[in-house]
Amino acid sequence: MVLLQRQSLSEFVLVCTSLLIAGPALAASDEPMDWLNRMGAAVQQTSYEGTVIRIRDGEAESLKVVHQVADGVIREKVVAQEGNGLEIIRNGNEVHCILPDRKSVLVEEWDDQSTLFSTLPSSEIRFGNEYDVSIVREDRVAGRQTRLLAIRPHDGYRYGHRIWLDTATGFPLQTQLIGDDGTAIEQVMFAEISLNKEIHASALAPSYSTEEFRWFNQSNHHVTRSADTDWVCEELPRGFKVISTHEERMPGSEAFVTHILYSDGLANVSVFIAQSGEGGSQGPSSLSGSNSFSAIVGDHQVTAVGEVPAITVEQIATTMRPR
């Protein structure tokens, strides 16, 4: 904390000096929303190759990532450096998850343009009054100069974020998910990265010959249909709004489950409402920064899932009621 305060002071002096020297142009470029705009463009357009370190739940893991954007098509290769050597090869919307130890390939379809690092906030996100966004200081990540952007929630119903943006390109080189006690719940950072370098096709090819592997298709895993619902949350935390409502049939089940997505513009919570006779457990659960809470409401099981603190999913799940 002392270190940060000291840096804040020196940063303030640095910023004032810079403004005097560089004038209004630099001041404009230091607007947090401008940086978010730059980041949004950078993650859509930047090709890169590097090593990502992910730290969460007291574990650190490493991923080698190659990402190419060419003619609007995303090609990507992600190789886990720990465990079973999982490889994820993406070509457009088709994704192959290769499990070399099982000599198997799982084929999935991602029906969006998202990648591991594309799902960060942009200026299109309406933060409302629930967060403050600011540029905190300059820093260095992966040998590159960065600006640290902080997204700080006003209450304990949502997490904070710290994002280190490459000064030259706006590309996010490090992200932290911050709990209400100020600790980093999860960190994802590049240990080394090459931005906008030419990427050869061979760098995106699988490391294994998969001809003899068994292939499985998990496309259309979830069957969905549009629907309205009478269910509402009586004590929805401030700032959250309904984004979508639909019904969904989970694999292995014939019954449809109502799925309501809430968002405050940054944090998302899904609520699933099923007949309680369908089974399933109650209470809290946690996976990395994601929490869930299941409760029985009448003859329904209500489960809230989201990348929010445990108290948020618990409050939402336990106060869902049919109108």
Binding site: L4, E82, L99, D112, L120, D180, L266, S285
Partner: protein
């Protein structure tokens, strides 16, 4: 691994390593699995000492740390009958904790920082009293796993949390796939549809 590296790691997890040294350490972490495991150990100890876990066996970690300070041998006995070791303490298994590590764990990992270095956020009103610390993961049933996957698929495009959501989705997809393959040994049908030939 020498003491200099250990001190570097402790400073790193404490956020006090100078930028250029942190860069170097991260590069090494990208190449060195042992180094990553060591960082994970420090983080696990820090979580335990901050009381962020209430899993059975956490007291044993304290004992290990105390034993390390006293430089006494410690008998490995983390697993408690009927309770599998959790991810939070698994990295400690079989590891000898040096006194330097223990001291770092006690004095170095107590600090927390706010998102932007200002005051801590206003806590949410406690509607239902729950443990504000680390939520002990319970075994995830298949339905809950499907909910996480569905949430990840639906919410990915909606905000910064999507990056974490995507990682969670990847992990669960892999887990689910592994299970479906394992189940194939005893049951012919698997959840995933097998493609007859390579596409």
């Amino acid at each position: 691994m020498n003491d200099a590296i250990r001190m570097q790691i402790s400073a790193f997890v404490d956020g006090e390593l100078p930028d250029n040294e942190a860069d170097l350490l991260l590069r090494r972490m990208g190449q060195d699995a042992e180094l990553r495991r060591k960082v994970a150990e420090y983080l696990a100890i820090g979580r335990a000492l901050r009381g962020e876990t209430s899993v059975p066996g956490v007291d044993r970690i304290h004992e290990r740390v105390a034993a390390a300070i006293d430089d006494k041998p410690f008998t490995e006995d983390i697993e408690i009958a009927g309770t599998p070791p959790t991810k939070a303490i698994r990295p400690l298994a079989g590891a000898a904790i040096a006194a330097t590590v223990a001291l770092v764990a006690i004095f170095g990992l107590q600090q927390t920082i706010s998102v932007d270095g200002t005051d801590a956020v206003t806590p949410a009103p406690a509607v239902v009293e729950i443990d504000n610390g680390y939520t002990v993961p319970r075994p995830m049933d298949d339905r809950l796993r499907q909910y996480y996957l569905s949430h990840g698929a639906t919410a990915t495009e909606n905000g910064a949390n999507g990056i974490n959501s995507r990682f969670v989705t990847l992990r669960l997809s892999e887990e689910e796939f592994e299970e479906s393959l394992s189940g194939e040994d005893v049951a012919p049908e698997v959840e995933a549809d097998e493609i007859p030939a390579k596409p």
